[in-house]
């Protein structure tokens, strides 16, 4: 379940937290999602431009 590139870091953090075995898989999945979001934060924090309004059409 852990997102590919983030698996080793997620596993290492779960080790550091002494994650109980029955909680480990979900914790690693949550950490991997968060790591991906943090990378997105650094990659995309300057790209927040909004586009001006256009008349509603076609819905």
């Amino acid at each position: 379940m852990t997102e590919g590139g983030y698996a080793p870091r997620a596993s290492a953090l779960a080790d550091r937290l002494n994650a109980p075995p029955d909680r480990r898989e979900g914790l690693e999945a949550e950490i991997a999602i968060l790591l991906a979001q943090i990378d997105q934060l650094w990659a995309g924090a300057d790209r927040t431009a909004m586009e001006p309004g256009v008349p509603l059409d076609g819905i």
């Binding site: 870091r9 949550e30 968060l34 979001q37 924090a45 431009a49 309004g53």
Partner: protein, 465 residues
Amino acid sequence: MMRSGALTSVQLTLDALQRISALDSDLNAFIEVISDQALDAADAADRAFRQGHDLGPLQGIPYAVKDNIDVEGLRTTCNSRHNLLHRADGDAAVQARLRASGAVLLGKLNLHEFATSLPSFELPFPPAKNPWNRDYTPGGSSSGCAVAVSSGYVRTAIGTDTGGSIRWPASCCGAVGLKPTRGRVSCAGIHPLAPSLDHCGLIAWTIEDAALTLMTVADPDVDAPVDPSWTACGQPALLQALSEGVHGLRVALPRHIYAEYSDCDPEVLRAVDDAAHALARLGAIVAEIRLPNPSLVNACGRAIMAAESFGLYENLIRDRSVDLARVTYQKLAAGAVVTPADYRRARNLQEALELQLDAQVFQAHDVILSAVALGPPPKLGDLDQAVPIKLQTNTILANVTGHPALALPVGMSRAGLPLSAQLIGRRWDERGLLRAGQALLQDRGAAPLRPSLHPISADKADQTG
């Protein structure tokens, strides 16, 4: 009716307590019901009416609060084993305002542990059930608030919203959910999850109920600029504004933040599109816009929430993790990955988004219309899996920027669950938000739908459902 003596608060409170007694052993909206204290408060409200004391629009009206809000003398469990013995030694600011208004507290309402995003069967109090279909969750984390309102126990309930925890359950249950502007309602005395995103707000049966509650709980000492139209107009003018309609209202429709997601339910898409058409037909000027990438907004909110909630609960996570449900542990412990630099980056982006929404959207538009959730709530049977369920909502933007946001029912799915839309308003302009919401609800045909409810195990069928 209570002011004329045609109805007493004691009668109203007894009716609510009877309804709770008949239905809530299965729906699980309440963690604690305080019948005796409620009847004492109702009696006091009736006496005040008889003596000519008018304490405001909620005098004598039953309500309830989410169980992460302190009420003097009662437990604040946050639905966590860790907090079962915590007893509040004072009222939260919002509860103090309600107490002073003569409203009648019926008890404390169910929530997800520490107001996190998912329910669990591992918690001290079992998950609330969706009154429209008890196989589904009612959303959360203010699950009990939404169930208590949509089941007709109370007209209004006080909840909290850190990433959508008022709007999502209101949406799942067909109620009105209002997350006011950051700072409009004090969070003092409320157990925090992520202080930079936490808001106190309400779930109500109608827009009028929401307006009356907001006027009662709004912090009069708010340390921020306040829309003059709010303070100058006062109570009657706010209600009057609800009937002003939406002619000329400028509505921004960022359709891409829900429609471009493959898991956006077609029924949600149609319901929000229908709401846009309804507003246009009523005289609003609807324009499609693009907001910042919603994935980036979600990343910003999630990083802040993860870092701040880990900071608050680190000792518990490290030393007493068995006290937490698995899903809570997984959500909270993941925050250890956020570095101080990541957190600063997210907070800087939060500030940029706030300014951008003010400068680029609300200069040209009055409200933003979007979805609340992109799909139906999870089924109760799908909870407590090894890996937490993923949720897709449009809610966290308004927590990040602090703008007021309203969830309101705009239809029903083929499966018989409510469909909702979200309106986000200009900072401090809850009035404009409620006015637009009222126009949409009235366009649907006045009274909101109410689920037909019958006690599961009682012989006596519910006559009021």
